[in-house]
Symmetry: C2
Subunit: 154 residues, 2 copies
DNA sequence: ATATCTGCAAAGACTTTGCATGAGA
DNA sequence: TCTCATGCAAAGTCTTTGCAGATAT
């Protein structure tokens, strides 16, 4: 175990999960990047640090971390899931995604989030009541063409 | 050609696409349902009406209709895409989805949409300017537990 | 010590592609 | 007639599963 104690240890240990090298490295990779990594992207990065890790373990770890709420899984429409650290002490700010339908590029934006909060809370409250759902989370994405793709379309 | 002229004829013909039996039936199935059908669901329904159709054609037709903006494609997180008619004369009202993370049930809601419009327009305008994107569409989904799944969790 | 975790290989699920035949305009 | 569209089979991707060996506690 070459890596120093992380903030997630208590979360895992608390539920009886073990702190293993692959888990630590996967979380490390996720916290170091600002990109939107697919399982294979993560596998490649992890593999660089610790070559004996397998893709299966990456998938299983991501599944676990997701169930624990440590990471989020996104679908940007290109047929593979993307993962990022949940917001929090080590995670990023709450943000949404702006996706280019031309080239698949994804931009994180944190603008207008404040204005959203009001509306979202109101909506969540209303939906909870009307449909008897206990709302846990939301997903907001915008789709469009980035500058380069727009040029190319001409 | 057993089916009467549909509103989509001009859209297809206008771009040089042919009006074929499978295309008509697929659109018919989509306009008759209020469910969120997967490609295979659609295949099954279409097959019932016109058994010689293949799943491949369903996929190809859905792809075409999507490119033309006649239908939308959604990902509710269960590994298969769902399709529905775009809003419009024959389509449904603009709505968003409320997804149960327990059983996968999806509820369409049209509440609070009006309040959203303001915010969305403002956000779209801001994002366009700041990131130089030409915004085309947005996706909003809420996730939570439906009443039954909440009961089951206790 | 022992229950959990991992890696490999194989299987599974959904979707796409190649190609010869069939059908719309 | 002559493209465009279809069906079948095969292939392609991403993801999950089974199982024996390895590892954390």
């Amino acid at each position: 175990m070459r890596h120093k104690t992380g903030w997630w240890h208590r979360r895992l240990r608390g539920r009886g999960y073990r702190i293993t090298v692959p888990r630590q490295i996967i979380l490390e990779v996720l916290s170091r990047t600002s990109r939107h990594l697919s399982a294979e992207d993560i596998y490649i990065e992890v593999h660089r640090i610790y070559p004996q890790v397998g893709l299966t373990t990456v998938y299983r770890t991501l599944e676990l971390l997701m169930r624990m709420g440590l990471i989020y899984k996104f679908d940007f429409g290109d047929g593979r899931a993307r993962y990022e650290l949940a917001e929090g002490p080590q995670g990023k700010l709450h943000h949404h995604h702006l996706i280019c339908t031309g080239c698949g590029r994804v931009v994180d934006y944190t603008d207008f989030i404040e204005e959203e909060v009001d509306l979202l809370q109101k909506t969540e409250k209303g939906l909870s009541r009307k449909y008897n759902f206990k709302i846990q989370s939301h997903l907001i994405q915008f789709y469009g063409l980035c500058a380069e793709c727009r040029k190319r379309e001409e």
